[in-house]
């Protein structure tokens, strides 16, 4: 890899780079670890799980050899529990709350959750049944973690549920946005299949607002849950952004999950702008695609970055360089219109802004040039504001306003959950919180429609 792009890396090698990093627990490891669980009463790990999985119960079931029951306990509370086993920041949630942190070391809850759900995937278990049809119809816009969770719960209550999914497959972030070596697509697609098997219709490649009119949906369904997540990465608004070799991190990761892996980054120098989890994903994907040097540029410092600690550690182990207090000012192209250099400026931290974080301020005259072959933008995500407005929902910069108890929007027939309500001080951006919001929205819909069923009767 040292002499640039001449190095040959076979496609199989690239694919192997995208195999899951962590192997699952062996049966013996699962036995030992599950038996180590104290089976706490009123366990803090349950409290720390946004979906409230009965963790001691599912672990006890692994220990007793009741793997089906274990998987069911997990998926009961979290319809995307197989994905969450892999992507949850467990040290900040369940494992962080484990009482054994004060004693020995916390139980590997995420790994045990993966062990049980992997068993269910491998053994093609059907864990839930659809409810008796109640004659009501609910539309769910977006088939990501929030939408799937809402749809699954509604199907179990007996609703006829239709998911409108813009992409070719459902699963949202889990299917398209989380790197394969963390979360293989098959896991997310199993969760999708579990929901479909309850009779939920998933209309894929159907973008609301383009392929179907929101008004038509509102007319045809008794309730609507908007769970469209977020959109692409916004523009940097600097010169050279249109050059060949400038990428959107979301799209970049998606390509590694949906297309044949490309050789074009072998031996190349990649600069990733931003220091959130998506930036880490783009950087580690670049490394795995054979890039010789990958830098993450962030205009603030490590203290302000939004990436999880374990993601940061993971990127460092992948030899990703971190350049703090560095902001891009201009992308320089060659005569063919391809990225050649990235001009940056050093920053320093000034007074705290509205969000409490210290604002980065450019250091005058500190501009410098980086030689790069690709620039990947990972500075957040834009909103599906047009869709939100097409439904006539109150929002703040595309973040849908909801009642935080019921997730009901300004339209009493419409509920919203997941990343579409995240931001502006509202909610959390985790898969697991999206799942919980989807469940809660579904229960609120059921509460509302059940009442109307009673009134009608």
């Amino acid at each position: 890899m040292n002499n640039g792009s001449q190095v040959f890396i076979s496609l199989e090698d690239l694919q192997r780079n995208f195999d899951e990093v962590r192997s699952g627990l062996s049966p013996a490891e699962a036995r030992d670890e599950s038996n180590r669980c104290l089976y706490c009463y009123d366990a803090p790990c349950i409290q720390a799980c946004p979906t409230g999985i009965n963790i001691p119960s599912f672990i006890k079931k692994i220990a007793s050899g009741n793997l089906k029951g274990s998987a069911r306990t997990i998926m009961e509370s979290n319809p995307v529990g197989a994905s969450c086993a892999r992507v949850c920041p467990t040290e900040e949630l369940c494992e962080g709350a484990c009482v054994l942190n004060h004693s020995t070391k916390p139980i590997m809850i995420g790994d045990l959750q993966r062990y049980a759900t992997d068993w269910a995937i491998k053994n093609e278990q059907a864990l839930f049944e659809r409810g008796k049809k109640n004659g009501m119809r609910v539309a769910v816009i977006g088939g990501g973690p929030a939408g799937l969770s809402a749809a699954r719960e509604l199907a179990r209550f007996g609703y006829e549920v239709t998911i409108f999914e813009a992409k070719e497959r459902a699963g949202g972030l889990d299917t398209y946005g989380i790197v394969s070596f963390r979360l293989p697509q098959r896991v997310s697609l199993w969760e999708v299949k579990q929901v479909e098997e309850l009779g939920v219709e998933i209309k894929t490649s159907t973008m609301v607002g383009r392929d179907i009119d929101p008004a038509e949906i509102l007319e045809a369904y008794d309730a609507v849950i908007v769970a469209v997540g977020m959109s692409k990465v916004p523009m940097l608004k600097i010169e050279g952004e249109e050059l060949e070799g400038v990428h959107d991190a979301i799209r970049f990761v998606e390509d590694t999950k949906t297309k044949e892996l490309t050789h074009q980054y072998v031996g190349k120098r990649v600069a990733v702008i931003g220091a959130g989890n998506t930036a880490i994903d783009a950087a580690t994907c670049s490394v795995r695609l054979g890039a010789e040097n990958v830098k993450i540029l962030y205009r603030r410092t490590q203290d302000e970055m939004t990436a999880y600690d374990f993601e940061y550690e993971f990127a460092k182990q992948d030899n990703v360089e971190f350049r703090w207090l560095t902001a891009p000012v201009r992308i320089v192209g060659d005569e063919n219109g391809t990225v050649k250099q990235l001009e940056c400026i050093r920053m320093e931290l000034g007074e705290p802004g509205a969000d409490g974080r210290r604002r980065p301020v450019p250091v005058k005259g500190s501009e410098f040039l980086l030689e790069v072959d690709a620039v990947i933008k990972a500075i957040g995500q834009t909103r599906h504001t047009a869709l939100v407005e097409a439904f006539g929902l109150q929002h703040q910069w595309g973040v849908v306003k909801v009642d935080l108890e019921t997730y009901q929007t300004s339209n009493e027939k419409i509920f919203a959950a997941g990343d579409v309500i995240f931001g502006d001080g509202q909610g959390e951006a985790m898969v697991v919180t999206a799942a919980q919001q989807g469940k809660t929205a579904a229960y609120a819909v059921h509460q509302k429609l059940r009442n109307s069923i009673i009134e009608t009767a």
Partner: protein
């Protein structure tokens, strides 16, 4: 360095750790390896008329992922010709003159048969004899082993027959498959036993395979009860040793057997009256080398306690073992939770709440920090909370000052009878 040598009814051994009569002592090769590893003695796999063994033979019980919490076997006595065993005993004794070799014996309950076998094994130089009245399976169906060991008269008679011929000390090994082991122990003493050993294995079925519905183990789809041993039986064995040790009619040394896996177990048995111990399952689980820590740990323990000889331990706790009627009813302990050690798993709360006396409260301080607290007035001092507590030192059982003078049930009944008498 304390003196680890023991003398059990005249049988001397460099340390109290003997291998029990079982698969580990099946041959000269094995016993010599054991002596090389450090074992002080070995009770040779029971000699008698050669038998035929089955496959499979062993099964074990796992508990919470830990293997061999208990162990079960359906193997019988030696299946090798007596001449071969005698030759190997002779060779082993010659190579290890200072180690104890005890021949375990089992023959039909006939005087001549006992005389004959005793004479033959003593001729090759054993240090003692152990009469196997305990084997609970197979041999018992032929009127030997536990079958004869469950009848006090047969125990007494056979002990006597063996003693008539024996020049070396005779140990009688007792079966636990009996209501009151002191009865057969007394019978052995009556018959002239120089010592008793206990326990042999407990009748057991290790398990049932829930997929095939076969017994565990099974022999071609059929099972039969086996003998249970290993860590799970230790409390049963310890009680039987203690009951014999505190019985004034049983005034012979005891060789303790049953679930002994570590030097600590050995110390417990000796404190409860054993003059030495025999080990099998732990060696079968881990190999002969485990004796190294047994010796080392025992040595360090004795040094720490300032005891010059391991024999100073024998029986030191026996006087503290009594009948329930002699326990002080006015003695009180209560649980106290150490907040700085507690990890808030709440196991003590739910154990007390669901299954004991509902006296551990889950509380929160003004800052919302949760903590557990015992209502001492309601605490009966049952120990359950401290038993289920996973964190060492989080719960202390604290002794309270006597509010009433000590009084046992027996004393109470005596006093009441006195009132009635008046």
């Amino acid at each position: 360095m304390a003196d680890l040598r023991i003398n059990l009814a005249g049988i001397e051994s460099p340390n109290p750790f003997w291998l029990a009569s079982a698969p580990p002592t099946n041959s000269g090769y094995q016993v010599q390896r054991a002596f090389e590893a450090g074992w002080g003695g070995a009770v040779w796999k029971t000699l008698g008329e050669p038998i035929i063994n089955t496959t499979a033979r062993f099964a074990a019980v796992s508990f919470n992922g830990k293997k061999v919490a208990g162990f079960n076997n359906i193997e019988l006595i030696t299946d090798r010709p007596l001449e071969v065993n005698l030759k190997e005993i002779y060779e082993t004794k010659k190579r290890f003159p200072n180690h104890a070799i005890i021949a375990s014996l089992m023959v039909e309950p006939e005087r001549e048969k006992w005389h004959e076998i005793v004479k033959r094994v003593e001729d090759v130089g054993v240090d003692g004899l152990e009469l196997n009245f305990g084997c609970p399976h197979g041999m018992a169906e032929r009127g030997m082993g536990a079958a004869s060991g469950q009848q006090p008269d047969l125990v007494e008679a056979q002990t006597m027959w063996a003693k008539e011929a024996a020049r070396t000390p005779v140990i009688v090994k007792l079966t636990p498959n009996i209501t009151d082991i002191t009865v057969t122990a007394c019978a052995a003493v009556q018959g002239g036993a120089d010592a008793i050993s206990m326990i042999n294995t407990i009748n057991s079925l290790a398990g049932v395979d829930i997929d095939t519905w076969n017994t565990i183990p099974h022999v071609a789809g059929k099972g039969a009860h086996g003998g249970y041993c290993g860590p799970a039986v230790k409390p049963i064995a310890l009680n039987m040793v203690a009951e014999c040790a505190r019985n004034p009619m049983i005034n012979v040394p005891i060789s303790g057997i049953g679930g002994i896996s570590t030097w600590k177990d050995a110390v417990e048995f000796m404190l409860m009256g054993a003059g030495g111990v025999q080990v099998c399952t732990a060696a079968m689980h881990h190999g002969f080398s485990i004796v190294e820590d047994m010796i080392d740990g025992l040595n360090n323990y004795l040094d720490e306690k300032g005891l010059a000889s391991v024999q100073d331990l024998i029986g030191k706790s026996v006087e503290r073992y009594s009948d329930w009627g002699n326990l002080d009813l006015n003695y009180r302990i209560v649980a106290r939770i150490n907040q700085d050690v507690c990890i808030n798993c709440n196991k003590c709360h739910i154990a007390c709440e669901d299954t004991s006396h509902q006296c551990i409260d889950m509380l929160a301080d003004p800052d919302g920090n949760r903590y557990l607290q015992v209502r001492e007035d309601d605490c009966v001092g049952c120990n359950l909370c401290s038993i289920v507590c996973p964190e060492d030192g989080a719960i202390d059982m604290v002794e309270l000052p006597h509010e009433q003078p000590p009084m046992t049930w027996n004393e109470r009944q005596t006093v009441l009878a006195g009132f009635k008498g008046n």
